[in-house]
């Protein structure tokens, strides 16, 4: 009988030591990846941007400044479920250089998650949608926020 008690208690400690193993691996990202393509031809084009601003958050102006890109990574506002980006671009034709202003409003879900007791919380972003835009056209390629995604939105410019 004593042997049984000892074995039972020993098993208790061995097994209970394995119960609370936790791993730290956050997967949340608020990055979205944009690709600019030419309307009609779908060929990748370069866009000369003066700046990109976020409406209602002047403290974060500009999020991008004076750059020429064909692909771009932006981050959405974690404190809201809508982020309005305003694109100030230099649009160059053969002879004329003129400004162009476009608006892109993105909607998404933000869900807090506790990664682990040690690692703390993170925010999980999901269900990317386009609420409003003024570009020629736009296509959602991937609505999930994932680091490995190459393109979330294809913008026809």
């Amino acid at each position: 009988m004593r042997k049984r008690i000892i074995i039972s208690i020993f098993t208790l400690f061995i097994v209970s030591a394995c119960v609370d193993d936790e791993l730290c691996a956050g997967k949340g990202t608020n990055e979205i990846k944009l690709l600019f393509v030419e309307s009609g031809t779908e060929t990748r084009i370069e866009v000369a941007l003066d700046s990109i601003a976020v409406s209602g958050r002047p403290e974060h102006y500009p999020v991008i400044a004076d750059t020429t890109v064909s692909a771009l990574t932006l981050t959405v506002d974690p404190a809201r479920t809508l982020t309005q980006f305003i694109f100030y671009a230099k649009h160059k034709t053969d002879t004329v250089l003129y400004g162009r202003i476009d608006t892109l409003i993105l909607s998404y879900e933000v869900t807090p998650k506790l990664i682990s007791v040690q690692c703390g919380p993170e925010l999980i972003f999901s269900d990317l949608n386009v609420f409003k835009f003024t570009f020629d056209s736009l296509q959602i390629i991937e609505s999930h926020f994932l680091p490995e995604v190459e393109t979330n939105l294809k913008i026809y410019y």
Binding site: M1, R4, I5, S8, T11, L12, V15, S16, C18, V19, E22, N30, H60, V63, T75, D77, P78, A79, T111, P112, K113, L114, V117, G120, P121, E122, L123, I124
Partner: protein
């Protein structure tokens, strides 16, 4: 001509003998099985009525020890669980009911989860003839938990700075399946001690999900699709009558 006839005759005879051998063996096996079953049936039906064989002989009432131990030693976790097991022949119908509370308070967040859970299922006792009434079993459970979770905290983003949040999951329902194995050993009179190892799997969540669930009472980490657990029990056996046992087959 004679040789051909002889070979054909030999082939036919061989076929009959071979098949007859298999048929004989098959018949012998069926007869033995039938006799064996008849013997067993006779013991059960002739000497002890079948309803007496399967009628419950005891109710084992258990109290889980890890939950109260966590309550005493940890500020982050507490809980309790009761277990009732009724025997039916060599099987046990088992019902567990318990509650767990988690409260993690750190610099960047406060998280709490509380709820009740129950499990219902059956075990098969692998040592029904044990002289002490000890158990070595495995079985299945269907489990459910109703819980409330709350988290307040802050996260830092290099673009957007610090974001503060408060999220509440008011009424989450969790369901899962458990494959269990364990033992109970007799300690003193009708007092038993032992443990149950649980492989919890097929977790399904429904209800409010403003916050991604983290700790599910009775299950563990919600992010794990399967989860190992152990419960340690001290139980008292309320015996109704002596158990009728089937003699072991020779």
């Amino acid at each position: 001509m004679n040789l051909t006839f002889y070979l054909k005759l030999k082939q036919i005879l061989r076929y009959i003998i071979d098949n007859a051998r298999w048929r004989t063996l098959l018949l012998l096996w069926i007869t033995l099985m039938a006799n064996n079953n008849g013997f067993t049936q006779a013991i059960i039906t002739d000497s002890i009525p079948k309803y007496k064989m399967i009628a419950p002989t005891m109710l084992m009432f258990g109290f889980e020890l890890l939950g109260p131990a966590y309550t005493l030693i940890s500020e982050q976790r507490s809980g309790w669980e009761l277990e009732a097991a009724l025997d039916v022949y060599r099987y046990f119908i088992v019902y567990d009911y318990g509650a767990e509370f988690f409260d993690f308070q750190k610099d960047t967040y406060n998280y709490s989860s509380e709820g009740t859970y129950w499990r219902f299922g059956a075990d098969i006792n692998m040592i029904p003839r044990d002289e002490y009434g000890s158990l070595l079993y495995f079985g299945l459970r269907y489990s459910e938990s109703i819980l409330t979770e709350k988290m307040t905290g802050k996260v830092f983003d290099k673009q957007w700075g610090t974001t503060y949040f408060t999220s509440l999951n008011g009424n989450v329902n969790a369901r899962w399946i458990e494959i269990v194995a364990g033992m109970r050993a007799k300690i003193w009179k009708e007092l038993y001690m032992g443990y149950t190892l649980r492989l919890k799997t097929s977790l399904r969540l429904s209800g409010d999900q403003e916050l991604e669930s983290y700790r599910i009472p009775g299950y563990g980490l919600a992010s794990e699709s399967s989860f190992w657990g152990v419960n340690y029990y001290i139980s008292w056996r309320f015996k109704f009558r002596e158990k009728y046992t089937v003699p072991q087959k020779e």
